[in-house]
Symmetry: C2
Amino acid sequence: MCQLLGMNCNTPTDIIFSFEGFHRRGGLTDHHADGWGIAFFEGKGCRLFLDDKPSIESPVAALVRQYPIKSENVIAHIRKATQGVVNLANTHPFMREMWGQYWIFAHNGNLDNFAPPPGSHYNPVGGTDSERAFCYILEALRQKWSQPPSVEELFSEVSKLAEELHAKGVFNFMLSNGELLFAHCSTKLHYIVRQAPFPTAHLVDDDVTVDFSTVTTPRDRVAVIATVPLTDNEHWTALAPGQLTLFRDGAPLLTATAPPAATR
Amino acid sequence: MCQLLGMNCNTPTDIIFSFEGFHRRGGLTDHHADGWGIAFFEGKGCRLFLDDKPSIESPVAALVRQYPIKSENVIAHIRKATQGVVNLANTHPFMREMWGQYWIFAHNGNLDNFAPPPGSHYNPVGGTDSERAFCYILEALRQKWSQPPSVEELFSEVSKLAEELHAKGVFNFMLSNGELLFAHCSTKLHYIVRQAPFPTAHLVDDDVTVDFSTVTTPRDRVAVIATVPLTDNEHWTALAPGQLTLFRDGAPLLTATAPPAATR
């Protein structure tokens, strides 16, 4: 399956350290070599870099590693294709506009036989279950609200939709509108919140260490979410299967956990 | 005002030569230094590179200059801000999904007092007249058809919408879904079709020459559309004010020209 990486911060932060380890999983330290992508929100705007080459040999990944784009919300994905051929239209993350906001989505997992009817507002371009799920979620939210609801109402509805899709297969995902970042665990997802006093962190995938205290201010707070922990000397928190956590300003804000399927 | 560049081909082609001259207009040979962007369709997928730095000093432009992305449809834009601050959300081209296809739009001009009501399907994220116009066009097309119409029906409707917006100000634009490329001239737009026997071309903005016969096959056909001709030893065709031309497979397919405003 694929690898997910997300970052949610209270101040624009670059993701170079985390991406340094993460991109190695696309063909070097792991076998997720069917393309990759990364989305950076900057204010209301969003940059989406996609490449159907493995991230370890992608010129676009080389750019991202060298260009310190500062962002409050980032979602990255390295693909191991389960449904849909390897091409650009099937490369995550996916982007759509809803309520005058860009929304970004990436999925790690597999939904069997998930073929929702065509949406009135959102339809997939490629052939993945992931993009179908993204369009299904946005369609449901947009049908319910023509303007953005409160964060609590939105969380409640995304939670219901996540539970519904989690019941159809494996559905780890991240979803962001540039302010909020939803992270849903179906099988495997971890996060860490870094804040003062900042640690020195060491990558799992490469022998690289960074002392965050030298590149931060005392008020900075950064949540990093990843399929598998990226560092080997920090404590990462595992999300439980069925858990949806909403991050804002670099910290968890709301959490809900669906009951295991057997008890439903 | 801004600079537009488009390419429509019958076979995936890289735009490195044209982009070499074009990107210099973003801060070096011209003063369009308020960000830039380029969209490459690859099949149904689309890569959209945006940067709010001037293209002449942009690391993303350096990538695009070095990475020969082969595409059948490209739209690029260098911005000189007229409405909307300089930030990523206001950087062209803009992207939306309609009918399960990505649509890309870039605009050179200025529409005064253009404030359409919120769309049911499409709404702007940033603060430009350009993105409002894009959403207005897509909203009208999507309200009229829930599935893609014929090329002739689509052309006729885009032509009406272009004429309507052209009457509100300056409205040079390009619009593509990865197969079709619409180019509308309000004040200034030129194109050239390159096909066998291929010429040797020399850039206006830099002392660079390329012999296309060495990098093409006899059946290749490429239309390049630009605000101002990019080469100084080829014959570029000027579009007339009010002219909309639809390109497909590297050649003009349909053309319509609105009557001058005074005769309407």
